[in-house]
Symmetry: C2
Subunit: 296 residues, 2 copies
């Protein structure tokens, strides 16, 4: 951490991602659909997943063009999941990143379609014509992202979440739910970055552990923030978990217990990076500190 200046690195990466997203998302879509897609994706979000992709790709000396595409693709999957998650039949949320949610701004039908189209565009971004990204790498990136997004990943986690409302879960059950719902895509971000280059098996395994641990830490912190933060800082409606009787780490472990778990996971993620044998892991380490130390 000490010898790596995170902010300039992150700002430079984010600028690249924003430019790429602005150039790609919803372009050539029918007007209203393109507007809804761009509203869902542009000018918002911390771009944590894209930063993880780019940091992991840099750690393995990966193909930069492929990494930028993968960074944007995983953000489209994340953005689509938020659009659908906010809809009245799911969480019925009206505020996201400090602005009205997509279905409030564009109507439910358009929000549904925009989410669907964003998922498809993620796979379009990973499969460009030409030789910029080798075909085998394209296939590998699609494989990682599809698995992380689907029924054995993010969508599966959301289904478990739906079924768990009002239930008392054990820590193991809660961990499994979040491993899929939030963790799968964060972990996939790290794997996507790694797939843009060549890494030895021990390094890949360490990155895998880092990604899993970070994904879990993210959710633990999310549960803490849902209790302690206000709407202005959080950019979304706080206190929703308790109101919806959703199981959380705070409910299970208490506020101090949840905070201690987050610190423990940060230590595990750092240890995995230290054992990876990779040289350029400062950005990944800094991102883990960001995740655990964030206020929104």
């Amino acid at each position: 951490m000490q010898d790596f200046d995170f902010s300039p690195w992150a700002n430079a990466q984010c600028q690249q991602v924003e430019q790429a997203l602005a150039a790609w998302v919803g372009v050539d879509a029918p007007a209203a659909l393109g507007d809804a897609m761009r509203y869902a994706v542009l000018d918002g979000g911390k771009r944590l997943r894209p930063l993880l992709v780019l940091a992991a790709a840099q750690a393995v000396g990966g193909n930069a063009a492929a990494a930028l595409r993968a960074a944007c693709a995983v953000e489209l999957i994340h953005a689509y999941s938020l659009v659908h998650d906010d809809m009245p039949c799911m969480d019925n949320d009206v505020l996201r990143r400090g602005k009205p949610t997509v279905h409030v701004a564009f109507g439910q039908a358009q929000a549904l379609l925009a989410g669907d189209a964003l998922q498809a565009q993620a796979f379009e971004l990973l499969t460009p014509d030409g030789a910029e990204v080798p075909a085998a790498m394209q296939a590998h990136l699609c494989r990682i992202l599809a698995r992380a997004a689907g029924a054995r990943g993010m969508a599966g986690g959301q289904a478990i979440d739906l079924a768990s409302v009002g239930q008392q879960l054990t820590e193991a059950q809660l961990r499994q739910m979040h491993r899929l719902k939030t963790g799968a895509l964060l972990e996939a971000s790290v794997l996507l970055g790694a797939a843009c280059g060549q890494a030895w098996a021990p390094a890949l395994s360490a990155l895998h552990t880092y990604g899993q641990t970070l994904g879990l830490a993210f959710q633990v912190v999310d549960d803490v923030l849902d209790v302690v933060a206000d709407a202005a800082t959080l950019g979304k409606t706080p206190g929703k978990d308790a109101a919806n009787a959703k199981p959380t780490y705070v409910a299970l472990l208490g506020l101090d217990g949840a905070r201690a778990l987050a610190q423990d996971l940060l230590a595990q993620a750092s240890a995995a990076l230290a054992q990876s044998g990779l040289g350029q892991t400062q950005a990944l380490l800094a991102l883990a500190h960001q995740v655990v130390g964030r206020s929104h």
Copy 2:
């Protein structure tokens, strides 16, 4: 047509597709989500898109394992689009293939997630581990399917459809809407099959024309059936287009005019196959006849 016995061929292909779908769809998904995914896909539908993939793959002597995966993948995209399209915020339909729609049977939240997970699984099916399907072919199949499903394909067509309710469209506008909404995926089915093998550019171009023409014919016949068929034959609620003030070919050209257009498109599709230079096009020709002659 005369020297090709369509039914045995189609039955054998369908059996293979049904077995593969039953083995793959929603497996290892959380219980309720997997049930909704399988309900949406299994034991229903004419499997037109899978049959087009398999027929096109056979016409070019393509990789059979890749073709079966592509056949199932395109069916998952089709099935997810129906699940989302039937939801209350879209067409609000309660009957599909003669049974309650997914959101009626499983609730809206589960229907939304099942559709999302089906789209992701389509890309999972196209990107298996191992050497069964070469990586370059996997990437090519993902590229075709993602483009056809997204904002410049099916989802885009649905957005235009949404915006067109109550509007008077020209034939060119109506054709453009359907080219995306229904045509893109039918055309992609043919291209996916072709991508499972090696075909010369003139043959590919002929298959492309065949797919485009067939896609349009399908929609024209759909509009005719919405007027003349009853619910029991159709397996869904008829008369919805008029009730929803949707523009249709029947509204634009009259019943006889729409029927004549369908016959004209059939002749164009047949001519494209005859000019393709490919030997094994009987199944594709028979499928075009099926599309135009169907009663549901």
